[in-house]
Symmetry: C2
Subunit: 248 residues, 2 copies
DNA sequence: CTTGACCCTCACGCTACGTCAGGCTGTACG
DNA sequence: CGTACAGCCTGACGTAGCGTGAGGGTCAAG
């Protein structure tokens, strides 16, 4: 018959009853959250009833999302720390939820754009993702929805064909520019017609979308680099278009 | 004039342009997320244009909340990892938001109960918090709201008086029980009347609340211990009540 | 006296870097 | 040519909340 067994619990026992691990209790001890009142002669932790009560309160606070130092402060001086800690936790949670909410909407919108054909058409998924993120920056929800709808109505293979045509078209224009061809030269007319057609097909004739895309090209060197559209070509095309219009 | 400067960036430069720290870039290098193609003779990291492009993609993925190993997997093999990673991240976010949402409602409801007088009345804020959490478990929102409303209508000092009276009442009953007084004895009648009155005052006469509280006392030893109401007393009171009713 | 279950105290591992420490490198200035 | 200073390198420890051993006592039962 041991003399000190009566109503004291050893760590394993307490762990089982609270669903914690022995290690966690050790940790709480180290942090001063719950240091058992007594130790056995051999150094075993012996938890009394008040220790158990304190632990239950600690678990309650932890379930509310407080950090262990906060839990400790609340246990040691509830009147001073508890209300502040709860308020702080509430505002933290509100901010984090708001942030994660925004993230989630982004993810969902990206995922749906991804599945709606535009993603499947492009070879490099990451480039597609980058483009989608750019679109998020320069176009609003409605405009992106319109783009997605047009993409779906055109069909995946049509999009693939257009995406394959762009580099050839750009290369042809670049070649003309580098050969010193006058932007107003008649040989550029069919190229510019096709160019305008592709742009109209992409934007659906929406001037807001067209302007957003132009701003994107103006502000994002990465996009220009990826498509091979540098400022020289942009200006050359602009002049050729103007010439075509004024003579057309 | 150094020969290798042209379009390669050193870490500090790249850090400035991306808003990252040098340490972060070192870290990405160590994790294989971005190891610069080249090193200078002295071992300096030299980042080329494709390195920069990869870094931008990595930052995009990280802003979406992916872990660095996930980012690496997506960069290394987008077709296989990217869709899965995005889906996983979306579900993770959804779960976490749901969890935090629940936590926040709990915190808010606790805070409001706290301010509505019941908290200010009790000395030990943590015990109050524990009781409130218990109530969450055994009473629904509506019932707790009813409790809070009654608390407000009664006023803080009335509540304080009642909370001071309970231990005395319990002590008196316990004393009678320990003296072996018959539960049906007339000396218990005024005690039981007062007991019933306090209970009615607390529950507002709502039988659902009364039953919830009874279940709480039945299932939560911690609550019984705190109030000094063990099962013996509960049964003694029940019998005294029954005797009082049948003879009254 | 041994076995097995329990306990003890280090101490390293995890995320995504921050923050030194100690030591080269590159360049500008005197 | 020496030196000062900015910039780079590679470790290595710290963060929150424990998990997961390692190595070694303790206790009741056989």
């Amino acid at each position: 018959m041991t003399r000190e067994a009566t109503n004291h619990l050893r760590v394993g026992e307490l762990a089982k009853r609270t669903g914690l691990t022995v290690r966690a209790l050790h940790h709480y001890d180290a942090l001063g959250i719950l240091s058992p009142r007594r130790r056995s002669a051999a150094g075993y932790r012996l938890y009394g009833e008040d220790d158990v009560a304190r632990l239950l309160q600690a678990l309650l606070l932890r379930r509310l999302g407080l950090s262990l130092p906060e839990v400790r402060a609340c246990l040691d001086d509830p009147r001073r720390s508890l209300p502040a800690a709860l308020r702080a936790q509430a505002t933290r949670l509100r901010q984090q939820i708001a942030h994660e909410q925004r993230l989630l909407t982004r993810l969902d919108s990206l995922a749906s754009s991804f599945e709606n054909g535009r993603g499947a058409a492009t070879d490099d998924l990451l480039q597609t993702l980058e483009m989608l993120t750019m679109f998020e920056k320069y176009l609003d929800d409605e405009q992106r929805a319109a783009l997605a709808a047009r993409g779906e109505s055109l069909g995946a293979e049509h999009i693939a064909a257009v995406e394959a045509e762009w580099p050839r078209l750009i290369a042809a224009v670049r070649s003309a520019m580098e050969r010193g061809v006058d932007p107003a030269a008649p040989e550029l007319v069919p190229l510019m017609q096709r160019w305008g057609e592709l742009v109209r097909q992409f934007t659906g004739g929406d001037p807001a979308i067209a302007s957003g895309v132009r701003r994107m090209y103006a502000n994002e060197p990465a996009v220009r680099q990826r498509t091979g559209l540098d400022e020289g070509i942009m200006e050359y095309v602009a002049r050729a278009m103007a010439a075509g219009k004024s003579t057309g």
